[in-house]
């Protein structure tokens, strides 16, 4: 843990979606970490994480993309790195666990990547931003750094699948994680009980079966609404898309559906740490969060 004045350095893997439709997640991650004295350095030459972990027991091919990223981390003279995207985290962490457990698989991948000058030897750790803030920065220090406490803001924290399943990659309880609730509480907000917080949003059915997503969004956001919340926070750009951008479909399905803003947890951090308007990127959120924040005097 770094002292107050020496910034901690941290290699950061943004992933494709944070450089595209979820730029608000990227910019709020980098600026809030700077306020926490963490110098975030984007990984050089990063490539696709693989997006989904192929479940076949003997699968090797789909581990190549994640392992290439782990090689890049070694080349950046580090033995760990952080990502804030839940999907990247899950895929990178699972591939890492798999090759650490199966040396013969790792040697096949290293042979396949024979043009790489660095070999991967299972010597890099994958961290998610939430666990980094909890374990390295500390929620007490985060609370001290808050300039605009989110007083009165009622927040439902949504984990979806990828932060908690399988349990080998979970950094909190699989059925009832509380890490995001503890984080928003440190920011001065009020976390609210949310029974469907680990229920799947429907993920990639967004592409070919949007009717499934409309139904999932109706049920999940409906569960959040029962807690009389101002917004839902997430850590996955896939969940964010389904729960935020598909609310109009949910409304068509259920006329009683109540629209709610969906924010990345880093956007709440950037707001509470007073990182400035550019660090929030609210223009990329589908449901505008500003009215909900204004109602609590937080705009």
């Amino acid at each position: 843990m770094g002292s107050e004045n020496i910034p901690m350095k941290l290699i950061y893997y943004p992933g494709c979606t944070l450089k595209n439709s979820a730029r608000n997640f990227d910019v709020s991650t980098v600026s809030s970490m700077a306020r926490l004295d963490v110098e975030v350095e984007e990984l050089e030459r990063w490539n696709c994480c693989g997006t989904v972990h192929a479940l076949g027991a003997e699968n090797v091919m789909n581990r190549v993309a994640p392992v290439t990223n782990l090689i890049r981390v070694k080349e950046a003279q580090s033995n760990e790195f952080m990502t804030s995207c839940a999907m990247c985290y899950n895929t990178l962490k699972r591939a890492n666990n798999d090759v650490k457990k199966n040396p013969e698989k790792l040697s096949t991948i290293n042979e396949f990547l024979n043009l790489e000058t660095t070999k991967y030897e299972g010597d890099v750790d994958v961290l998610h931003l939430l666990e980094y803030v909890r374990d390295r920065v500390g929620f007490d220090k985060l609370a001290e750094k808050v300039k605009k406490p989110l007083k009165g803001l009622r927040v439902a924290c949504y984990y979806g699948c990828l932060l908690v399943r399988p349990k080998e990659v979970a950094f909190d309880d699989v059925e009832n994680p509380m890490i995001m609730e503890n984080l928003v509480a440190a920011l001065g907000a009020t976390p609210v009980n949310f029974p469907l917080k680990t229920e799947c949003c429907g993920a990639y059915h967004a592409v070919a079966s949007p009717e499934i997503i409309a139904d999932r969004t109706d049920k999940i956001m409906g569960s959040a609404s029962e807690g009389d919340v101002d917004m839902v926070v997430v850590s996955c750009p896939m969940c964010a898309y389904n729960l935020d951008f598909r609310q109009d479909d949910a409304k068509r399905l259920n006329p009683d559906f109540k629209h709610l803003p969906v924010l990345y947890f880093t956007q709440l951090m950037a707001l509470a740490l007073d990182c400035g308007e550019e660090a929030l990127g609210f223009e990329l959120n589908h449901i505008d969060p500003i009215p909900a924040l204004a109602a609590r005097g937080l705009d």
Binding site: S21, V52, L55, A57, R165, A206
Partner: protein
């Protein structure tokens, strides 16, 4: 001790062996408690429930399994895996069925990305498109 089930057809026997190999799961460990189906967020959109998938896989019911909607509905959220009291990875079994269907040599993909309108495609986050293609195409 390995328990085996006597299946009369050799086609069924080799299908069971293939699914167990790809998924890395012992199908006969399942005692049909139904917890996987009870917690499945996609069950409402399936024609065959996850516990039924496991039973049919034990019996080598290749034709019915590969024709089911369920194998395309499961999104690997892993709720079933994390709640199974016998530690069977149901999602891995379903993925092995999906892979078997996709690798039948017919290139019978479940997602035809060119049929999705350019407006929808440009609206989708990259991870949605890439993960859908990884799961639903050969």
């Amino acid at each position: 001790m390995n328990t085996t089930m006597r299946l009369s057809s050799s086609v069924s026997r080799s299908f069971v062996a293939k699914i167990e190999k790809i998924s890395g799961q012992k199908l006969l460990a399942c005692y049909q408690c139904g917890k996987c189906s009870a917690g499945c967020p996609m069950a409402a959109y399936m024609d065959i429930l996850p516990n039924q998938i496991i039973r049919m896989a034990q019996l080598g019911m290749q034709k019915q399994l590969l024709a089911s909607r369920t194998i395309w509905t499961c999104v690997s959220c892993l709720t079933c895996n994390s709640r199974c009291p016998k530690n069977i990875h149901i999602a891995e079994v379903i993925e092995s069925l999906r892979e078997t269907a996709l690798r039948n040599g017919q290139r019978d993909d479940r997602l035809k990305i060119w049929e999705i309108s350019p407006e929808v495609r440009s609206d989708l986050p990259p991870i949605a498109t890439i993960s859908a293609m990884r799961k639903l195409t050969s």
